[in-house]
């Protein structure tokens, strides 16, 4: 696991539960905004990832691009006000380990485009907070941060 880039946070998944931090379980990097706010109690996290270390693909593979395009095209809209947040799971600056969509209530998980890459498991969690979904159409990542996190905007107070 590479050093944590700005805008990222660690999240671990052991196959049944999610944990903030690097363990127990397999460690991923997520969009940090999902953990930096008032958590939604008892949320439903659809974890489209596996705890196995070899379950990874290159972020730039066309199918990974396409599931993010599908999220922008219709998945986010389909979730409506039930959506709490979503994040992809980065293993490093180049590898994709899955994605998590978090909602306030059970939704049509069978339609989750990210489940086309790795199968989904619903996990109840108190970790996640509400994040405004990405505006699109940007699906590229910002310096390796897990989509949809990150920005190239200068930090407040930085020299222009």
């Amino acid at each position: 696991m590479s050093d944590l880039p700005a805008g990222a946070a660690y999240l671990a998944y052991d196959g049944t539960e999610l944990h903030a931090g690097r363990g127990p379980g397999r460690c991923f990097m997520i969009d940090a905004r999902c953990l930096h706010g008032e958590p939604v109690a008892g949320a439903y996290a659809h974890v489209c990832a596996l705890p196995d270390a070899d379950a990874a693909l290159a972020y730039d593979q066309p199918e990974i691009q396409q599931v993010r395009r599908d999220a922008m095209a219709w998945w986010i809209g389909l979730l409506g006000d039930a959506l709490v947040c979503l994040t992809t799971l980065a293993l490093d600056e180049a590898r994709y380990g899955g994605a998590i969509t978090v909602t306030r209530e059970p939704v049509r998980w069978e339609d989750d485009p990210f489940a086309r890459i790795f199968p989904g498991t619903v996990v109840r969690s108190d970790l996640f907070c509400v994040v405004t979904p990405p505006a699109g159409p940007v699906v590229e990542r910002y310096a390796g941060v897990a989509w949809p996190g990150g920005t190239f905007a200068p930090k407040p107070g930085a020299p222009s």
């Binding site: 395009r69 922008m72 095209a73 219709w74 986010i76 809209g77 409506g80 405004t132 979904p133 505006a135 699109g136 159409p137 940007v138 699906v139 590229e140 910002y142 920005t151 190239f152 905007a153 200068p154």
Partner: protein, 169 residues
Amino acid sequence: MTAATVSLEPGQRFPDLDLPDHTGRDRRLSEVAGGDPVVLVFSRGWWCPKEQRHLREMTALQDEFEVAYTRLVVVSVDAPEVQSAFRAGLGARFVFLSDAERRWLEPLGLLEETDTLHEPYRPTAFTLHPDLTIHRAYDGNWYWGRPTAEELRRDMREISRAVRADFER
């Protein structure tokens, strides 16, 4: 054109619009920009054949915008649910902002005065720096006044060159 209370000339800062998006979520233009260059399109609405044609051209560009850290935003007076259906029909993955209440029409001076039925926006487009400074403005009342794909590529290149420190290495 109605008298605007803000200047929409190149070099001026575009107002930080606060409008619901096509899903009904409240957005601000600066948040949607997210630190990236923006193409901001004011559209009459889904019913106009010119808008349908022009937005199909914008949709054809979105694959490039996706991989180039640039944003496309459309503003119209259509309600969010109408925009959402129109967006789906286009196959668009960018944001539509709804000014169904017509709050920004007068301050921006962009009322389409020839359409007394819909009271829509005059078709205009702006290319913006990440901080919403206007780079170039286009008046598309006559269809050929709208920016072409090549003009938008040129504008995005010019803005990116100005704001990305490592654009030319």
